[in-house]
Every structure is written in structure tokens, then in C-alpha cells.
């Protein structure tokens, strides 16, 4: 089979031991199969090389980079302001979060602080975006496991969020909502009312998703004890976000290192116990409800005042370096910026949650079946734009 196009044995792949001579495939022999980059369940262009024994997964190897655009390198040749829209293109389903992290990082570097009103707007939009991201995750994850219908329900409701974004800043997906030092736009007339309407609209919808899935026997069988990762393993692998919290670690940067206005709100950190796919599902569903709580508080208490801090037209942060991270929907999104005092970053490094969480894939799927690989890829909630940058 050496001349077959599926042969990958010429690649030096570390943990798969692909160098062993190919044997005819009986159950004692391994089957090497390429999942992706063109595959319906790899959420874009992830390529997973699976080493199978029958249908049992003996090992995986992720091949990434099909969507690499050199975002970090681009940052070195753009001014701080010019680079701001680029971060939206990383995790494009949670563009607002990306923008928040970047703006706050640069603000920290420049030692300015956004005004209170801007912070509240940021929180509202970011939490809305978290709900949108989780909704998209839920739809695609359920689709991967074979439930087609939730996808359309979640997309219907995500649409309302995107409408709010569109009204606020004119864009739906890659919003570029925030600026360094605050927000560019004041909220439009009726913003608060619409957000409140959305809150009352979406709360029963989340119940609706849960009705479809949470007690569904097949859903439980497909997700319980699938892709289990222990708290220790998760921490060792640097996993963050809902995946970590589902393993029972109560770690949320919104509480641990409050940024924006998060210290002023009252919300819980939902955690799981088993660290399996079902717990991750429950954690994310609970997170959507917590986000609603945060938004409600923020909308009710939103202060009046300016929305932009005093920031010079040409941003020239002092020499130094900064690491700032926020709790993006998928986990810890960190920006490490080295400034040499010029208008452009000397070096900018992103710590994308998807990329780090993807490391856990191998740990999670070893010994499971092919169908579980799909479920686990879905449950990690990766966005390839962010993995590859």
C-alpha cells in the first residue's frame, strides 16, 4: 500500500510510530486513517491522523496550519490601531472577546484605563458574544453527534445577538467593536431595551436546547464517560475554559483576575465533576445562563459618562512587555506584547485557548472509538482560525 495516497508513513510523526512496516489490516494490525482536512466533523481544516485498531483509537496526531495566516507576524508590521481588526479573524465566532483582550492588553501596556461606561458596554457585548459562541458550539457539537435539529435552533437565536452587534457597530461576525482606550461608538438608542428583550427571549430558548438534549438517552450515552480528562491532566496540559472547569477546577479569569468590570458583578462559576463530554456540555449550558445574569446586571447598572479614555492619536506605548489574558468563551485568551517604544509591537504573541486545548485531544480519545473522536473534537470547541492564526 506504499503508493496509496493515504500513506503517511513518510512523515516523521512523534507519538504514532508510523514507521513500523505496514501490515495487512486485521484486528491485530493498525489502520491509519486521515480525518480531515476535508471532513465534515473537524470544524474547518483540522487534520487528525488516527491510528486505529478496528475502530478503536490507538493514537492521534493533529496536523494544523492549514489556516495559518501569520497573524502574529502581521502584528509586527502594523501599528497597534491597525492591528486591532486582525484579532477578530482569529476566533471568528467570538470576535468581540478577541478584541477585548487585545485592547485591554494594549491599554495595560500604555497604562490607561477605559472609562466605566465603556467597560460596561464591553462586558455586555463580550458576554453576548460568549452566548453566541456557545450556541454555535452547541449546534455543531450536536450535529457531530448526529442530532441535526439543535443546530437550527441555536442559529435562530444566535441571529438575535448578531443583530444587536450589527446595530451597535455595523458588523455581525468580525465586529471590531472596541478601540484601544474604550469604545468607538456610543450605544444606539434602545440598546438597553433590546438587550433586555434578548435576555427574556433567550432564557427559555436555552431551556429548549436542554429539553432536546440533556435528558436524551442517546445523547447521554454518547457523551457520558467519553473523552474524560482528569483535573490533574487538564492542568498539566494547560487546558483552560469550560474544558478545565468541567474537570472540577474552579478557574475562571473573570473571578481569578477580574478585568473589565467583572469584579462588580455577581455570578457563579459552573463546574463539572467527571470531566467528560456530558459535563462539558452541562458547564457550557450553565455558563450561558450565568452570562445572562451578568448581562442583566450590567444593563441595569450601566453608568453614564464618556466611552473613550484619553488616548493619543498615534499610539506609542512605552518600552516594556505585558501579558494580559481574559476568559474567552473557549478558555484563557492571552496576549503577550513586547513594545520597543515604536508605533508597532516588537513582538506579539497570542495564547489561543483552542490551540492549547487541542493538545488534550490525544489524552481524551485514546482507547475510544472513531465516533468519539468526532464528539471530543466538538466538545473541545476549537476554531481553526484561532488554532492556526
Amino acid at each position: 500500500m506504499n503508493d496509496s495516497p493515504h500513506d503517511v508513513s513518510n512523515r516523521a510523526l512523534s507519538n504514532l510510530d508510523l514507521e513500523t512496516p505496514e501490515k495487512p489490516y486485521l484486528d491485530s494490525n493498525e489502520l491509519i486513517i486521515n480525518m480531515g482536512p476535508q471532513h465534515p466533523a473537524t470544524h474547518g481544516v483540522l487534520r487528525v491522523i488516527l491510528k486505529l485498531d478496528g475502530e478503536k483509537v490507538l493514537g492521534t496526531e493533529c496536523v494544523i496550519g492549514y489556516l495559518h495566516r501569520g497573524v502574529e507576524k502581521i502584528a509586527e508590521n502594523r501599528t497597534y490601531t491597525m492591528f486591532n481588526p486582525y484579532v477578530d479573524r482569529m476566533d471568528y465566532v467570538a470576535a468581540v472577546s478577541n478584541g477585548l483582550g487585545y485592547c485591554e492588553a494594549v491599554e495595560k501596556l500604555m497604562n490607561v484605563e477605559a472609562p466605566a461606561r465603556a467597560k460596561y458596554i464591553r462586558v455586555i457585548l463580550t458576554e453576548l458574544n460568549r452566548i453566541a459562541s456557545h450556541q454555535l458550539w452547541l449546534g455543531t457539537h450536536a450535529l457531530d453527534i448526529g442530532a441535526m435539529t439543535p443546530l437550527f435552533y441555536t442559529f435562530r437565536d444566535r441571529e438575535e445577538i448578531l443583530k444587536i452587534f450589527e446595530k451597535y457597530c455595523g458588523a455581525r461576525l468580525t465586529t471590531h467593536a472596541f478601540r484601544i482606550g474604550g469604545c468607538q461608538y456610543e450605544t444606539y438608542a434602545g440598546f438597553e431595551k433590546e438587550v433586555k428583550n434578548f435576555l427574556t427571549f433567550v432564557a427559555p430558548k436555552i431551556d429548549e436546547y436542554e429539553e432536546l438534549l440533556t435528558t436524551n438517552r442517546i445523547w447521554i450515552e454518547r457523551t457520558k464517560n467519553v473523552g474524560v480528562i482528569s483535573a490533574a491532566d487538564a492542568i498539566a496540559l494547560g487546558v483552560t475554559g469550560p474544558v478545565l472547569r468541567a474537570s472540577g477546577v474552579k478557574w475562571d479569569l473573570r473571578k481569578a483576575q477580574p478585568y473589565a468590570a467583572y469584579s462588580e458583578f455577581d455570578f457563579d462559576i459552573p463546574t463539572g465533576t467527571n470531566g467528560d463530554t456530558y459535563d462539558r456540555y452541562l458547564v457550557r449550558m450553565a455558563e450561558m445562563r450565568q452570562s445572562l445574569r451578568i448581562i442583566e446586571q450590567a444593563v441595569n447598572r450601566i453608568p453614564e459618562g464618556p466611552i473613550m479614555a484619553k488616548v493619543p492619536k498615534i499610539i506609542k506605548p512605552p518600552v516594556g512587555e505585558i501579558y494580559h489574558s481574559i476568559e474567552a468563551p473557549k478558555g484563557e485568551l492571552g496576549y503577550f506584547i513586547v513594545s520597543d517604544g515604536s508605533t508597532q509591537p516588537y513582538r506579539l504573541r497570542v495564547r489561543p485557548p483552542s490551540f492549547v486545548n487541542l493538545q488534550a485531544l490525544d489524552t481524551m480519545v485514546r482507547g475510544l472509538l472513531v465516533a468519539d473522536v468526532v464528539a471530543v473534537i466538538g466538545t473541545i470547541d476549537i476554531v481553526l482560525g484561532e488554532v492556526d492564526r
Binding site: K23, P24, L26, D27
Partner: protein, 102 residues
Amino acid sequence: MIPITTFHYLVVAAALFVLGVIGVLTRRNVVIVLMSIELILNAVNLNLVAFSRMWGNLHGQVFSIFVTVDAAAEAAVGLGILIAFFRNKETINVDEIDLLKW
């Protein structure tokens, strides 16, 4: 047109039987040898059913059902042996199965 008699069926059965015997005696591939055995058993079945019709009782048909049961058992065990063998020797050729141990 001559009517079809028992004899006609016997000729067909004999032809299938001989084909099966040729397959068993000459082919190397175990799977095909097993399939040839199925051919032989089918030829026997055809004979039994034809005789059953000739004598007007059902003993032949009942017997052919027993033969079918036997064929199923034979296929299961034969293919089981084949898989076990293939796992150890990685060959499915009859003439390479010439050791009594592995």
C-alpha cells in the same frame, strides 16, 4: 421441448459438484477453497431436493436443511480458523499451511 426430469437436475448438480471439487483441489486461496466446499454442498442439496420431488416425500428437503445447517457451521468454523491462522502467519494460501504448529 423435452420436459425437465429429475435427471436434468442431477446433471446440473453433478456439474456443480465437480466444479467444487476442482476448486478444492487446485486453488491456493483458503477463502475460495471454502467457497468451493459451499458449491459442493449446494450440489448435494440440489440432488436431495430433486430426489425428494421424484419420490414424492419431504425427507430429501428436510435433509437439505440439515446440510444447510452444516454448511453454516462449517463456514463459521472454517473462517474462524482462517482468521486465527491469518493473524499468526499472514497468509491465506493452502500450500503454505503445511506445519502442524506455529
